[in-house]
Symmetry: C2
């Protein structure tokens, strides 16, 4: 179910995207990553950046989430289930775990007769540099 059905092929562009994404600990849009790559002399196509990022998400190498404006932003991510604490000023992101929340979500859902429970949770705030 989570095995890459398409065995990725390693290319200059994919590496560039992966490296660029790893270089910043914040969530960034595909367009941002594309611009950064261009700026640093890698003439990668925008569509390629989108495809590379989607591939990374499928492989669990990156996390995607949608901003309030409907942009999808990506971040290199550790494996496993976790949530994000994102600074709304600078975009700095901290990965957090919430066993409490996991349990709460499951329990509440089951009380209402729901099964196969999953959830999305993002915490926003202003970090201490602001």
């Amino acid at each position: 179910m989570s095995a890459p059905s398409t065995p990725r092929r390693s290319t200059k562009q994919r590496d560039a995207v992966a490296t660029e994404l790893a270089s910043e600990p914040t969530f960034r849009s595909a367009q941002d990553v594309h611009a950064a790559l261009r700026a640093s002399g890698s003439p990668v196509g925008l569509a390629t950046v989108y495809r590379a990022l989607q591939g990374m998400v499928e492989d669990g190498a990156a996390d995607a989430l949608r901003t309030g404006d409907g942009e999808v932003v990506y971040r290199r991510c550790s494996q496993g289930h976790h949530h994000h604490l994102v600074c709304r000023e600078c975009g700095r992101t901290v990965e957090v775990e919430g066993p409490t929340v996991e349990r709460w979500a499951t329990r509440v859902a089951e009380q209402h007769g729901f099964h196969d429970v999953s959830h999305t949770l993002e915490v926003f705030g202003t970090c201490d540099r602001h």
Copy 2:
């Protein structure tokens, strides 16, 4: 800060949108609401539906959230802070409160030096009719 800077004017179209939204306890896209209104004989413009729904969100009369495909879906909502338990089969929605989660989010955020904390949380599952 949350006072409507633009004092809404009551019109046939806004009422129609509000009524239509209230008629179903599930999240629906602006396009769905628009189609439903057309079907029931209210020739409302799509842009008007968007504007009406946005107004309702501003006034706290509706809740908006983004689907996985990047569509914004709306639902008539009770006031106050709460979360949603959404059936991924039929879209049925239950409003839930989570004091536990609120506390957890605030605490974790503060531990990392964040303030002015807010969060988004949606729980998905399959309800007992499926």
